[in-house]
Amino acid sequence: MPTLEDRIRQIMADETARLVPAPDLAERVVRSTRRKRRRGRIAAVAASLAVLATGPLYLTVAPGAMSTPDVSETPVASETPAPPAIDDTPSMPSEPPSFGDLGDGREFGRVKVGYLPEGLQWSNWSVNYGDRYTTSWNFDGDKNGFYCVQIYVHEGDAVLEVDNSVQVYRDEGEGESVTIGDRTGYLVVAGVGEDGGKGTPTLILDMGDQRRAQIMFSPTYVKEFADDAAVNRELRKIAEGLTAVD
């Protein structure tokens, strides 16, 4: 005799068996995100029209099909696009480049961390893509463990991504501008903030024309603090102590 739980599983499977996502879902997501990022820019209008003019494409089109940097660019699709793969196990991404051993992790890339909350140690994890790099700190230094504090630095042209994100937050009325010494920043609860999830308190620090740093507290670590004000105080202190080393 199957249990009620087993019956629920079976009925949920039957109920959802017919559901298939739109084949151009990824493209729509990318397009929509771009539209929001480029809101108010004349170039965005031209780029969006170029994408719309191509019509929906399967996700397996050749590289370049989802890119919209140039209105004259014509996406290249194979003659008979294969249907999208459904529920194949995604291939494991290759290990991203890292900084290697950072010691206490206080200096990474071209920035130095002057302050961290007590009890944190470097997580032995980092990612380094050159113009964007990040590392984190947690309680036990386990690189596979949860992070407590993470700092993500964008430099050069990559700062545009951060600035665009801030613009989206501003447009959506989320977060607030802050002053950190003689620098400016934007304080926002990013990520999943609905319902029980408190989101990721983030301070985006402007470290100059060519550098932005996102200082993030994990939603789990936030619970170590009495309230939001205490979290924001710590974020500000980390931002104050974050300096460039180049």
Partner: protein, 170 residues
């Protein structure tokens, strides 16, 4: 196409069906599930640099579930009841009856209890994983699951449920 777009496209191609089904079970409406999924993927894509090197699926699932709960609560405030979408393929009447009874019962659960049922019995997440997705304690997951199952039993009636299943498989 950038590397990020390529990776994101591959991820969506591979996992969108599963995620759409989670969204549907979480909200109970196909059109809203599609919107829910796209909203979650947009949020994920905005943070792709951060989530791409971990397994992105739990992140998307978390956005879906929490957004569904948030919307359901707003809907409850507005007193709008989601409309059931009939299945497109023909099915035996007993199957349809049973599914409708269960899906209506699921829709009748408070949003967080419904999310617990979907995560525990559809996604097969552990109590700890479910707690992580919902941002609550394991104890809360246990109590919510217990209350939800009790309500489903009451709503469905174990006897009548077994009778319908028995007929369906006869």
């Amino acid at each position: 196409m950038s590397g990020a777009e390529h990776d994101f496209g591959a991820f969506v191609a591979a996992r969108a069906t599963t995620l759409l089904r989670v969204a549907y079970l979480a909200c109970g409406d196909q059109a809203e599930a599609e919107d829910l999924l796209q909203t979650a993927l947009e949020r994920t894509y905005r943070n792709w640099d951060r989530v791409r090197h971990d397994t992105p699926e739990p992140y998307v699932r978390r956005v879906i579930i929490n957004t569904a709960i948030s919307r359901a609560r707003r809907r409850a405030i507005l007193n709008i009841v989601p409309v059931r979408v009939p299945p497109e393929r023909p099915a035996r009447s007993t199957d349809v009856d049973l599914r409708h009874v269960l899906m209506d019962a699921l829709r009748g659960l408070p949003p967080r209890q419904r999310a617990v049922i979907v995560l525990r019995y559809w996604e097969d997440l552990s109590e700890a994983q479910t707690a992580e997705v919902l941002g609550c304690t394991i104890g809360t997951v246990k109590s919510q699951a217990s209350k939800a199952m009790a309500k489903l039993r009451t709503a469905l009636g174990e006897t009548s449920l077994e009778g319908v299943i028995g007929n369906a498989h006869a």
